[in-house]
C-alpha cells in the first residue's frame, strides 16, 4: 500500500505566465513524482501539487530561487489519510 508520510500539498501562486510555465516544467520531471491536484493553467488560478517527501527540498528550493510564491496546504498527507481510515473504521463498528 502506498503511504504518504511526509508528503505535503503545496499551493503555488504563479505571478505570471512565465512562472506558470516554470511550474509546468516540473510536471515533466518524472523522478520528482509530483501529483498535481490542480493543474498549472493561468496566473489567476492557484496550483495545488502533492510533493513526495524525497522531492520536497528540491521543489521548495526551485520555487524559492525563482521567487515563485507558495504555501503549504496540507502539512502531512498521511495524517489526513489516517484520520479518514480511523473515521471509517469507527463507522463500520
Amino acid at each position: 500500500t502506498e503511504t504518504f508520510v511526509g508528503h505535503q500539498v503545496l499551493r503555488i501562486f504563479a505571478a505570471d505566465e512565465f512562472q506558470v510555465e516554470q511550474v509546468k516544467g516540473l510536471e515533466d520531471l518524472e523522478h520528482l513524482q509530483l501529483d498535481f491536484w490542480r493543474e498549472p493553467i493561468h496566473p489567476e488560478a492557484s496550483i495545488d501539487v502533492r510533493v513526495p517527501f524525497h522531492s520536497l527540498q528540491a521543489v521548495k528550493v526551485f520555487l524559492e530561487s525563482n521567487s515563485i510564491r507558495y504555501g503549504i496546504m496540507i502539512e502531512d498527507v498521511q495524517s489526513l489519510v489516517d484520520e479518514e481510515k480511523l473515521s471509517m473504521s469507527h463507522n463500520s463498528r
Binding site: T1, E2, I74
Partner: protein, 309 residues
C-alpha cells in the same frame, strides 16, 4: 438487519459497502428503484446504475454520475445521499415528485469501480482507471479524457504515466464505453450531470474548444441559478462557466461528448472545497456538501422538466 435507514451517510464507504447499499435500495423500494448493470470494469467488476422510475416506457431521463475520478471520495458519498434524497422526497416534495412523474433518473454512484477499490486498498490518491497500457509500466487512463469529443487534441496527455492520459483511443475504457452505449441505446436522456471534486465550480461545455456551445446563454443562466441555490444553504461560493474559460482546455471530456450527442443540459460539478483539504475532505463535510449540491441539482432538473426539447 442492515437497511438504508441505518446506512451512515456521513461517513466514507468502500466499494462493497456502496454496492450493498445499492442492492438494499432496490430491495427496499422496488416500486421506485431498480438497479441495472450497464457493463463491467476493466478488472471485471459490475458497473451498477440505479434507476428511479414511476412508470412509463423510455421516458425522458436525467443522468447523474459520481466518482469517475476515484480519489474524489466526497462525490461517491454524495451520490449515496442523492439516492436516499430521491426516495425520501418522492411524494413529499412537490417539485421532485413532478420531476419523477415525468422523467426517469439514472444515478451511477461508482463510475470508476476499479480505481475506487484501489484507493481503498493500495493508493488513496489514485485517480484513473486501472487498465494496463501496452508498452508502458504505467497503469490507467483518465476516464475524463477518454470520450469521443475532441479526443486527442490539446488538453490531455499521450503519456500513459500522466494523470491526464487520454488512452489509446476514444472509449478505450470499458467504464466509459458502458455509459456511451447506455446513452446511445436509451436515446432519450435530456440532462447529464457528471460530478467531480474539488474547486467549487459548475461547468458546462466546451472544454476541448473555445467555440461557444449553441445553448451557451441558456446553460450560463441555469448554472447561475444553480450556484445561487447551492450557496443559499451554507454560503458555499461556486464559480460557473464553460470548462475552457473557467479552468483550462480539457479534451475528451464527458459532458462535451454528451452535449454533442444532443443532451443540451450537460453539466459538471466540482464539489468542495477550494483547497484546504482538497481530495481529503473530512467526512464531517459530506452531508453539508451533498445537501447543498442537491439544491443545485434540483435547479438543473427543474429547468429540464420545464423546458422540454
Amino acid at each position: 438487519a442492515r437497511s438504508i435507514a441505518t446506512f451512515n451517510y456521513a461517513s466514507y464507504h468502500n466499494l462493497d459497502e456502496i454496492y450493498d447499499f445499492i442492492d438494499l435500495l432496490a430491495a427496499e423500494k422496488p416500486e421506485l428503484v431498480s438497479k441495472i448493470q450497464i457493463g463491467e470494469s476493466y478488472e471485471g467488476r459490475p458497473i451498477k446504475v440505479l434507476k428511479f422510475s414511476t412508470g412509463g416506457t423510455n421516458r425522458p431521463a436525467i443522468w447523474i454520475d459520481t466518482g469517475i475520478h476515484s480519489r474524489e471520495w466526497v462525490t461517491q458519498a454524495s451520490g449515496a445521499y442523492f439516492a436516499k434524497k430521491i426516495i425520501d422526497s418522492y411524494g413529499q416534495d412537490p417539485s421532485l415528485t413532478s420531476i419523477l412523474d415525468n422523467f426517469d433518473i439514472f444515478l451511477e454512484i461508482v463510475t470508476n469501480p476499479d480505481g475506487f477499490a484501489f484507493t481503498h486498498s493500495k493508493n488513496r490518491m489514485w485517480r484513473k482507471t486501472r487498465s494496463k497500457n501496452s508498452g508502458s509500466l504505467c497503469i490507467g487512463v483518465d476516464p475524463n479524457r477518454n470520450w469521443d469529443a475532441g479526443f486527442g487534441v490539446a488538453g490531455s496527455s499521450g503519456n500513459p504515466c500522466s494523470e491526464t492520459y487520454r488512452g489509446p483511443y476514444a472509449n478505450s475504457e470499458p467504464e466509459v464505453k458502458a455509459i456511451v452505449d447506455f446513452v446511445k441505446s436509451h436515446g432519450n436522456i435530456k440532462a447529464f450531470v457528471s460530478i467531480h471534486s474539488y474547486s467549487q465550480l459548475l461547468l458546462y461545455p466546451f472544454g476541448y474548444t473555445s467555440k461557444k456551445a449553441a445553448d451557451q446563454a441558456e446553460l450560463d443562466a441555469v448554472a447561475k441559478s444553480a450556484v445561487e441555490a447551492l450557496a443559499s444553504l451554507h454560503g458555499t461560493k461556486y464559480k460557473y462557466g464553460s470548462i475552457i474559460t473557467t479552468i483550462y482546455q480539457a479534451s475528451g471530456g464527458t459532458i462535451d461528448w454528451t452535449y454533442e450527442q444532443g443532451i443540451k443540459y450537460s453539466f459538471t460539478f466540482e464539489l468542495r472545497d477550494t483547497g484546504r483539504y482538497g481530495f481529503l475532505l473530512p467526512a464531517s463535510q459530506i452531508i453539508p456538501t451533498a445537501e447543498e449540491t442537491w439544491l443545485g441539482l434540483m435547479v438543473i432538473m427543474e429547468h429540464t422538466r420545464d423546458h422540454p426539447y
